[in-house]
């Protein structure tokens, strides 16, 4: 069983993980949606077709998606230091988390937009809608259930990423599992941190599925 000290530590680590998750999740969504929209709209045959811009954004997204996360953390440490002032702790960990998750989420947004019925977009054009109105009133509301599923997938991925960030001193449940559980041969700590992570994943997935189903009127 866990000692009292370990229990408070577990609570602290959980709060740290939730903090990392909340902050990086929020910024990933804020950055990823416009990026996904740009990826989609600049593609061939779309409203803002621009093959040069599309290729540039696509390349950046693919590069960042290809770098294994654990390496990304180390690679962008100088940037993290510039932004946060340190490379250790949960706030510092959000920088690689955001950079790692945004391209991933942007691709999910792009896919969600691609699924929107072209006929509905054509109807909006026939009514004299401008590009902004088509994005705001057609693409986003019509794709919202898929985007929400994308947010769920991204948050679950971020839990995994945040655990990895723990390895290099990011704090949170991953950090606790590695430093106090694995490295100190403390099996109860190892298991209980894993269990809390598991609960988090199940809860987020459940909530995400529930909301997506609720807003989907198709």
């Amino acid at each position: 069983m866990l000692e009292y000290r370990e229990l408070t530590q577990l609570l602290e680590a959980t709060i740290e993980t939730l903090y990392m998750l909340g902050l990086s999740g929020l910024l990933t969504v804020i950055l990823g949606i416009p990026l996904g929209i740009m990826l989609f709209l600049t593609d061939k045959g779309q409203l803002l077709e621009n093959s040069t811009l599309n290729r540039i954004i696509g390349l950046i997204v693919n590069v960042f998606r290809s770098i294994p996360f654990i390496i990304l953390i180390v690679l962008i440490m100088p940037l993290t230091r510039v932004i946060v002032g340190t490379t250790i702790g949960p706030t510092a960990a959000t920088v690689p988390l955001i950079i790692g998750a945004t391209p991933f989420f942007a691709r999910l947004v792009e896919t969600a937009l691609r699924e929107v019925n072209k006929g509905v977009v054509e109807a909006a054009i026939s009514m004299g809608a401008n590009v902004f109105q088509i994005i705001w009133k057609v693409y986003l509301p019509e794709a919202l259930p898929s985007i929400l599923s994308g947010i769920t997938v991204t948050l679950v991925a971020l839990i995994g990423y945040s655990a990895m960030a723990g390895v290099v001193g990011g704090g949170g449940l991953g950090n606790m599992a590695i430093v106090y559980g694995y490295q100190m041969y403390n099996t109860p700590v190892m298991l209980s941190t894993t269990f809390v992570i598991l609960l988090l994943v199940i809860f987020i997935q459940f909530l995400g599925d529930f909301l997506a189903r609720k807003i989907d009127k198709k």
Binding site: G119, E122, A124, G128, N130, Q133, K137
Partner: protein, 251 residues
């Protein structure tokens, strides 16, 4: 009202050139219901999309209400489109919006204040007979009800022209009847010019004043419905004439 002068449309993919329309000349009078009939691939869908510039002509002139559509800048084209309603075979309603919100959509686009939108939407819902279903989502409606929403939406901005792209092709015969009756009523009540494309002879016979038969990207016969089909000259027109008894069995 609507005039197409020597309109041509060529699709130029890297590999091949496809001539969808060649040398189309058409004049549609104000208040008329004008039918364009042809088999799929004849170019009728391209033709109707040229009128509101969902497609650009390769050559020729497109006039709607004294405006040269193919010469308008983006802003002017958007304003012109707000005065041209369009309905579709697959309805193309927003699945995330209720009946009421779908009908409000073009009014939001045009930037009307909320009170005005609400008032107009209520009128339209009544006009198309969907008062009971105002807060339903499209997925909860039948095909005929969906097309009624489509019609209400297309009429929201008080357009002078209504384009109908195979609007009854996805509906059963009985529902087709009721939608055609609604279009007929709208034409008479508001004097809206209706241009419809179809492959069903029955639709032409039922509500159109004049008709153009299109084949291989060309208009092969044109004139008042009774004349064109009373005395068909071209083989394709004769084929359409033969369709009638089969498709209008419940007349």
């Amino acid at each position: 009202m609507i005039k197409l002068n020597n309109v041509q449309k060529i699709y130029d993919n890297n590999k091949q050139r496809v001539t969808a329309l060649k040398n189309i000349n058409l004049e549609i009078k104000s208040g008329e219901i004008y039918g364009i009939i042809g088999y799929s691939g004849a170019g009728k869908s391209t033709l109707i999309r040229l009128i509101n510039m969902l497609e650009n002509p390769t050559a020729g002139e497109i006039w709607v209400n004294g405006q040269r559509m193919d010469r308008l800048n983006n802003e002017k084209l958007r304003l012109a489109r707000q005065k041209i309603g369009m309905i579709f075979q697959n309805f193309n309603l927003l699945s995330s919006r209720t009946v009421r919100q779908n009908i409000a959509f073009p009014l939001e686009i045009a930037g009307y204040p909320k009170e005005k939108i609400d008032k107009r939407v209520s009128e339209l819902i009544k006009l198309v007979g969907l008062t009971e279903r105002a807060d339903a989502y499209p997925s909860e409606l039948s095909g005929g009800q969906k097309q009624r929403v489509g019609i209400a939406r297309a009429l929201a901005n008080n357009p002078e022209v209504l384009l109908s792209d195979e609007a009854t092709s996805a509906l059963d015969p009985k529902t087709t009847e009721s939608i055609l009756n609604l279009l007929w009523e709208i034409n008479r009540k508001f004097g809206i010019t209706i241009i419809l494309i179809t492959h069903e002879m029955h639709v032409i016979k039922k509500i159109c004043h004049r008709v153009a038969v299109i084949d291989g990207g060309e208009i092969v016969e044109e004139g008042p419905v009774t004349e064109v089909f009373g005395n068909p000259k071209k083989e394709i027109t004769k084929e359409f004439v033969k369709q009638v008894p089969v498709l209008s069995g419940n007349d």
